[in-house]
């Protein structure tokens, strides 16, 4: 199962698996995000490349509007994959 919602301090929590099945849910949620936002990945079990594509597309829109996403709670493997893929150049990691 996949879930994406804002918690009390406005951080966006991703839970479960973000793959081809759950991609539309994430895309629609992030389409409504404006300005700066913090994404917490600590409860996310898996993110497929289609999920990464959605994050990059959202980042493009937010950066163009002067905002941006901060990625937090990244597990060691996912952090390594994002660094290898060169995502450090466009995202802020915490």
């Amino acid at each position: 199962m996949f879930d994406i919602r804002r918690d009390a301090d406005d951080t966006i929590i991703l839970t479960g698996r973000l793959d081809a099945v759950s991609a539309p849910t994430a895309r629609d949620f992030l389409a409504r995000v404006d300005g700066d936002a913090r994404l917490d990945f600590s409860s996310l079990d898996y993110i497929a490349s289609i999920g990464l594509g959605i994050l990059v597309a959202a980042q493009r829109r937010l950066v163009d509007a002067g905002g941006g996403l901060v990625l937090t709670g990244l597990g060691p493997h996912l952090r390594e994959v994002l660094i290898l893929a060169g995502f450090e150049a466009i995202f802020e990691f915490e």
């Binding site: 490349s49 990464l52 990059v56 980042q59 493997h77 660094i83 290898l84 893929a85 060169g86 150049a89």
Partner: protein, 347 residues
Amino acid sequence: MSSNDAVTPLLPVLRVLLALAPVQIFLLVLMAVDTFKLVRPRRVFVALAAGVAAAVLSFAANNALLPLTGWPLLTFALVVAPVVEETAKGLYCDWLVRSRRTGFLVDATLLGFAVGAGFGTAENIYYLREFEDPTMTTWAIRGLGTAVMHGGATALFAALRHLAAVLGRPGWRTWSWAWPAAVCFHALFNRSMTHPVAATAVLLVLLPLLLLGIHRRGERNLRAWLGRGFDRDRRLLELIREGRVLDSPLGRHLLSLGETVPPEARADMLCLLRLEAELSLAAKGMLLLRENGFATAPPAEVKEKLAELAWLEKSVGRAGRLALGEVRPRRGRDLWQRRLLAQEATD
């Protein structure tokens, strides 16, 4: 001073613009729709130059063959010239595909069109110098028709040649699709020169549809390859990182090599696979970012990793590389993506 006098000095400029500008504009549009920026401007210039070279080669060949055939010029233009010219233009495109310098229909078509555009431009410059034809229609036909036809014919050749390579056709048979298609496209246009304006109009309607259709198919394949490949490379990296390789098919394959490959070479094989996965993620990540307008260069350490990979390939030796053959990703695209990274890392 009458209005004609005012226009007269502009005629040479208009003539040059009509003859040379359309095919270059066409090429710029193809470069603009290249969402993943697979083809850098420098490579387009080299392809244009290859087209000019093909024009010089064809000019010499046609001049030598024309008297030998004894045919009237029109017959020669219909039968022999398309064969000579599409072969000359096709040589560079064949090298691009054979040496894995094209990875998808997107870059193959774009570079093919650039070769044809170089050819058409060189041909029109020659005619501009040789023939003082006053009628603008002639230059409109040559610029909007003939030059664009040359670009389209070679783009068609490059796309079909690429497809044949991806489908694993052996070298010489890859020309059996691409070459006749380009020659027929070229000869058909020459044949329709009895109605030049209509032929040029039909070309200007059909060719964009054909090229953009090929381009869209190429980008769809690229996206699918990106997604599949990214997830596969990640899983491999995860297996290696978490020390679970030996439970996987890959690990069992490495263990099954027994004494055929010395233990130290097997360790290097694992390092090679890990490094390939990391470089593959770097290439795919770069393309994913570019698709969304982030023009980023690959991470700094890519250059050292490429050097280390080359060393590891030598270290595991031919036996090791053959043994890895079954578990390594598709070699063609793998080499192309490595070349793409190396090119970007040195830019």
